[in-house]
């Protein structure tokens, strides 16, 4: 008997009462102002937000924010290692979640899966129209579509593994700027 069969047999042999699936959790309580909640969450996760009319309006602000670093936007590529020297990567996020500042990125958007992790700094463009109150709405929006890889990203990488001192910039991006556009 294979281990697979052995495990399944052992599990099937356990007598226990059936427990019903509790169904979909519907969020009853929302913040009143999704934008305000999102901005608050961004602050909690040490993220800079630029509120602008459109992407072009953000350019001088980004020039000022990253005075010496080159910003790039990339097409699809297969070699993740080539991204090791990217200083500032610009991408467009699918949607954001107000309660925790998480922004959804997936294979449909990313030039390479490692892109938002390996770059030194990350800029995400996000439309104000694509803000959702909680994770419950986020998964309704996602449905069961699979692109292969997707990530909820909330803020720059961080660690507190040394004496609980918060340090921003562990292995992933050292900083995150979210450009919040009207359209």
């Amino acid at each position: 008997m294979s281990s697979r069969e052995e495990i399944l047999k052992a599990l099937q042999g356990v007598q226990m009462p059936a427990k019903a699936y509790p169904g979909t959790f519907t969020s009853q309580v929302h913040g009143e102002d999704t934008l305000a909640d999102f901005l608050h969450s961004m602050q909690v996760v040490s993220t800079t937000v630029l509120q602008v009319q459109d992407a072009s309006e953000a350019q001088p602000l980004l020039d000022e924010h990253f005075p010496k670093l080159q910003r790039v936007r990339l097409e699809k590529l297969s070699d993740g290692l080539s991204l090791a020297h990217v200083d500032v990567l610009e991408i467009t996020g699918d949607f954001g979640v107000a309660e925790n500042g998480a922004i959804w990125l997936d294979d449909a958007i990313l030039p390479h899966r490692v892109a938002p992790f390996i770059c030194q700094h990350l800029v995400i463009y996000l439309s104000k129209k694509n803000l959702l109150p909680t994770m419950q709405e986020a998964y309704i929006r996602l449905g069961n579509q699979l692109t292969g890889f997707g990530v909820f990203l909330s803020g720059p990488s961080k660690t507190a593994d040394i004496e609980q001192s918060l340090v921003i910039g562990a292995h992933g991006a050292r900083s995150l700027v979210v450009v919040l556009t009207e359209s």
Partner: protein
């Protein structure tokens, strides 16, 4: 091996450090309280999460099969391991096929449970733990003392000295920012070179065949997305039925663990990258046995947030290593006897049964009750130390005999007031770190008789 009480005695020898450990974990617990209160429907979420997990456990074989079919359809290779040894052999055989001698690994308590690192190192594989806390303890030849904060037993001076020895940072430099940067540079080299990456799994979704890995550092993703082979290792109880369930669990996990709103990265792996191999190893290692133990079944609902560690008055003052198990704290104490009752007989007794663990558990495991159930089970099997058995029997005899109880009480009061040295000495464990109380002049019964009759 030292028992929990013996190891704790060593830990608390340094009072300043013990207090620091206690305060730091309590601070994390307080952050958890604050973050949980930001969600008005927190209690409803906990209840929902608990019900999803109970449903999953009552249908585990079906969900495992559903996951297998969907993961395979996504192009993931699925392996089954009945125990730790088989898990290690499977991982090794995959590595061997690719002929690599080094790999990067992000945090996985399952691989700690299976002692994968030691197994692979014996085979000549260089395993690099990439979580900062795990890398620190790996350098020191230690094991994590906490499942979320692996190096919480160390001070920055310790880390500075370790990094000085292993990474050549200047002696005496203990600045967390500087040390983290040194680790970033050191580990980036490892990420860029590694062909094989191992990660753990926080949740695996039966409906979609995908699995989710949560980190703050981004180390799991750096490893997995740059590797040619990604091996994810999970206990079979990490299955959840539907993708929408992730909404419930991701709202609970980080808030319960560290008081964060969510982990920085919640990564959903469904299909291998083009040209990449993706493997998942489903491990039983005693879980089917625990499922069959009715009283302890619910321990398998655990999502490894460690909220029960941070709140536990015993864990905070005894440190993770005193539990001599990869998963310490209250949850570890109810999981460990399932692996080996005799070796872990001390752990269910390492608790005050205050119940705080059950109150903070995001999936509502009745941890403190299970600790008590294990105590009964272990005593019945005759595994408790002889001293405990005799004293419990003596106690039961005295308590069931009113006149004897009265006499024993009177004797106790006399001894404490006339010959305090008989109890105030090192042979009495209750005298350690504390003064014995002053004896009252009379018992409550005597007082009642003279005042109310």
């Amino acid at each position: 091996m030292l028992s929990h009480a013996e190891a704790s005695e060593k830990f608390i020898a340094n009072q300043e450090r013990t207090d620091w450990h206690d305060d730091t974990l309590w601070f994390v617990r307080a952050k958890r309280d604050k973050a949980s209160k930001l969600i008005p429907e927190w209690e409803a979420l906990r209840e929902h999460a608990s019900q999803i997990k109970e449903h999953m456990l009552s249908n585990l074989p079906q969900y495992l099969l559903e996951f297998e079919v969907n993961a395979q359809a996504n192009g993931i290779q699925v392996h089954w391991a009945k125990d730790a040894h088989e898990h290690n052999e499977i991982v090794y055989s995959i590595i061997q096929k690719h002929g690599d001698k080094a790999l990067v690994k992000s945090k996985s308590m399952l691989t700690e449970e299976c002692h994968l690192n030691a197994f692979l190192e014996q085979k000549g594989i260089d395993v690099v733990d990439t979580d900062l806390g795990e890398r620190i303890v790996q350098f020191r030849n230690e094991v994590p003392s906490h499942i979320v904060l692996p190096a919480i037993h160390l001070k920055k001076e310790d880390v500075g000295e370790t990094f000085h020895q292993h990474l050549g940072t200047p002696k005496g430099n203990k600045d967390p920012q500087f040390l983290t940067e040194a680790a970033r540079i050191h580990l980036r080299e490892k990420f860029l070179a590694a062909k094989v990456a191992i990660t753990g799994v926080n949740f695996a979704v039966a409906e979609t065949g995908e699995f989710v890995v949560c980190t703050n550092e981004g180390n799991a993703d750096m490893g997995a997305h740059l590797s040619e082979v990604h091996i994810a290792c999970m206990g079979i109880e990490k299955i959840i039925p539907k993708r929408q369930d992730l909404g419930v669990f991701l709202r609970l996990l980080a808030r319960s663990a560290t008081g964060q709103l969510i982990t920085t990265y919640s990564s959903h792996f469904a299909k291998p990258r083009e040209g990449q191999e993706m493997h998942i190893v489903l491990v039983d290692n005693g879980r089917s046995r625990q499922l069959a133990r009715e009283e302890f079944r619910n321990s398998l609902k655990c999502i490894r947030c460690a909220a029960c560690f941070n709140t536990c008055p015993v864990y905070r003052r005894s440190g993770g290593h005193s539990y001599h198990q990869p998963v310490a704290g209250p949850i570890g104490s109810i999981l460990a006897p399932n692996f080996d009752k005799k070796a872990n007989v001390d752990l269910p007794f390492a608790s005050t049964l205050c119940g705080s663990c059950s109150n903070v558990c995001p999936v509502k495991i009745n941890i403190h009750e299970q600790l008590w159930f294990w105590r009964q089970d272990l005593m019945k099997e005759g595994l408790a130390p002889a001293g405990k058995v005799i004293s419990m029997k003596l106690m039961a005899w005295v308590l069931s005999n009113p006149s004897l109880f009265k006499w024993a009480g009177a004797m106790g009061r006399k001894v404490i007031s006339w010959a305090p040295w008989l109890v105030n000495n090192g042979l009495n464990p209750w005298y350690k770190q504390r003064e014995m109380p002053e004896a009252p002049k009379q018992s409550f019964q005597e007082w009642y008789k003279s005042n109310r009759s």
